[in-house]
Amino acid sequence: MTRYAFLELTSCGDCLSELYMNPEINKLLEEGEIVYWPAYGIVGDPEEIGEVDVTFIAGTVRTRRDLEELEKFRRISRIVVAYGTCSIYGGLNGLTALLEPRAIADGEYVKLLMPTVKPVTDYIEPDILVPGCPPTREVMARLAKTLKKYISGGKPEKKIFLIPGEVLCKHCPRRPSNPEKAEMPGIRDPNEVVDDGRCFIEQGILCLGPVTANGCNHLCIRFNHPCMGCMGPARGVVDQGLNMIGSIGSILLKSREVKLLFPGLAKELDKLRDPMGYFYRYTLPKAMLTKLALRRRGVE
């Protein structure tokens, strides 16, 4: 009987119960046995659980306990599934990456915390990675299919990424009709723009499509909402924010840049008040600048 463990690290706490409820996954679980899932009453000392076939891990490593459990479960598990964007890139939870432990806890609680929050992938090598916040039904189905291959034994030769790595823009329904003329006409608050169905960037809305992997089938775009980057960086993207600045810095106000000059141009750029929030909503712990900021604090 396949033995499953559910490991929930610091996060919003919902990914795994959602996964559990997915009919296809649920079927697999019913044929097997869940040996660890404290949130639903299945507790046990990981040392005594024995071998686990598949461990689903969601969330980030924020507390020392998170790290202990993570390392233990990596040791005893045949296959580790990093489930949800938090576990791979830090997710929304990762937005706290620059907070010092003292800023969020005091007294003895400080000692519980790691110096910063990091995704699971910074500490262990998962076998299967399932990004998404939350992962879509389609990706869950793909996960079920993939797991079936390994239920009776073995493990993937190399890491399996359950989404295609290409950028969201590649097949975007809002692709600019004339890329040569494409221009970002300024930086606008999406709440202030009457959406005309064109490429969001061409409407002055920061859409992370150019730097984000397509694993959602343009879900937000189809909901007339710019991409927020929840699937993490596309293949080849080094850093969502820095790449995005490189991209929009090229086409932002390009037909007016010479005319606007300074300080007009700077004033337009100042309309992006919170670049960190826009660019790293889901990947802050992986940002190169986070690494730099933490290194300055003495946290490596």
């Binding site: 929930e8 610091t10 706490g13 959602e18 997710g91 706290t96 806890a105 609680y109 939350p134 008040r273």
Partner: protein
């Protein structure tokens, strides 16, 4: 002196610890439930562009993510000075109700049914899947929806979408009607459960209740105003801002200094509070409530073991409400966003969630960055309630049965620790 530590505490979402101190003669000196999951998410909301908040705050609590989202969007409505049109209001309410429904059903299926109903959760899992399909159609994602915009929603379901929605909703109602009947039958005949319902140990004493009610005295999940039912039976409507002031003090005691402060007044929120304070939408629901009152000995319902049935009641009631909403979806033909309005520098949004009310209050500086955040999460409000209940074990002889009993209460309270630690005022006591 002895100490029993349960770490982590099972049946809780997130990381927490339970500490039982015993005397030399094995009597319980104290019991303490404390959240250990410290995230600090609320701290990084300050300094954000305000328009980003609805996409970040749902992560405060995964199982009530839509409630945080809708509260956030409602706060944004006020900051942008916009009044969403009816189409948007209905779609937001539908999303919120679906999320509460999913959360209730998951609670029933995973925390309640296995022990008290005998584990037949298949129908519930099926319903949850239907709920999710409808959620996806309305708000994009099952968690952290994306259809909100200040003054409306970004997308309306198309006609084929509406067909799917109606089909699923009627199936949901169908199954829930049957399920609630069979559950009630089983509960009524379960000695273990009825005994708990009438046991004084599980009663919330010196506890008030808060719920959102609409103008007709019905439960106002999306746009109700807060009403307090005091421990003394008094009933009054309160201003949301005042409520924050009030609750932040008491919940701070609960999350940080833990229970034991001042006059000991705490408040329960969620399904129990709502059915205590407000009227439901369907007769079937009222019928169950009557039965519940009968089983637990009078109104208001103050036994914590009422919570699962209260959630069952609400599940049924919410499905009625949703079915009614989509039976005549002519409201869908209206505009979905209103851009008119003048910006203000503060906004507040309050809605119900499965565990109780959620309040988001933002202040915005002149450059559009958030400079003040106050968020109330129901788990945070519930924490003192739990600790107050556990206090009753003080003086009892410690045994493993006692610990099981305590953990049973923890389970029934259904706490979300990631959310609980967010019930804070920025700049206040660190949690």
């Amino acid at each position: 002196m002895g100490k029993v530590i349960v770490d982590p505490v099972p049946w809780v979402t997130g990381y927490s610890r339970l500490t039982v101190e015993t005397s030399d003669d094995n009597r319980v000196l104290s019991i303490l439930f404390e959240p250990l999951e410290k995230r600090g998410l609320e701290k990084v909301l300050k300094g954000r562009s305000v328009e980003l908040l609805p996409t970040i705050t749902p992560s405060i609590c995964g199982s009530d993510s839509w409630s945080h989202y809708i509260a956030s969007i409602k706060a944004l409505d006020i900051i942008y000075g916009r009044k969403p049109p009816l189409t948007a209001i209905h779609l937001r309410e539908a999303g919120l109700l679906l999320d509460i429904l999913e959360s209730h059903l998951r609670y029933l299926a995973l925390k309640f049914a296995p022990k008290y109903i005998g584990g037949d959760v298949k129908p519930l899992v099926e319903v949850i899947n239907d709920v999710r399909v409808v959620k996806e159609i309305i708000g994009g994602r099952t968690r952290n929806p994306i259809y909100g915009i200040a003054g409306g929603v970004t997308r309306k379901p198309g006609s084929s979408d509406v067909e799917v929605i109606m089909d699923r909703l009627s199936r949901i109602l169908d199954i829930l009607e049957k399920t609630s009947k069979s559950y009630m039958d089983k509960i009524s005949s379960s000695r273990e459960y009825t005994a708990k319902l009438s046991n004084d140990k599980y009663r919330l004493k010196n506890t008030g209740f808060i719920a959102l009610l609409d103008g007709d005295g019905k439960i106002g999940y999306y746009d109700g105003r807060p009403v307090i039912l005091g421990p003394d039976g008094s009933r009054r409507m309160v201003d949301e801002g005042e409520l924050i002031d009030h609750l932040v003090v008491s919940s701070r005691l609960g999350t940080c200094e833990l229970y034991g402060g001042r006059n000991g007044e705490v408040y329960m929120v969620g399904a129990i509070s709502r059915i205590n304070l407000g009227k439901t939408y369907s007769e079937d629901a009222e019928e169950i409530i009557d039965k519940l009152v009968e089983l637990s000995g009078g109104k208001p319902l103050i036994n914590i073991f009422v919570e699962p049935i209260a959630r069952l009641v609400e599940s049924l009631d919410i499905s009625y409400r949703l079915n009614k909403l989509f039976r005549d979806p002519s409201w869908l033909s209206g505009e979905s966003i209103s851009f008119e309005g003048k910006r203000t520098n503060a906004g507040l949004g309050v809605v119900e969630s499965s565990r109780g009310l959620v309040i988001h209050k933002y202040g915005v500086s002149g450059d559009g960055l958030v400079d003040d955040v106050e968020i109330l999460d129901p788990s945070g409000i519930r924490l003192p309630v739990l600790n107050k209940l556990l206090e009753k074990y003080r003086g009892s002889t410690y045994s493993s049965e006692l610990l099981d009993d305590v953990l049973e209460i923890v389970k029934i309270m259904d706490l979300c620790i990631p959310g609980a630690s967010k019930t804070l005022r920025l700049g206040g006591v660190r949690g």
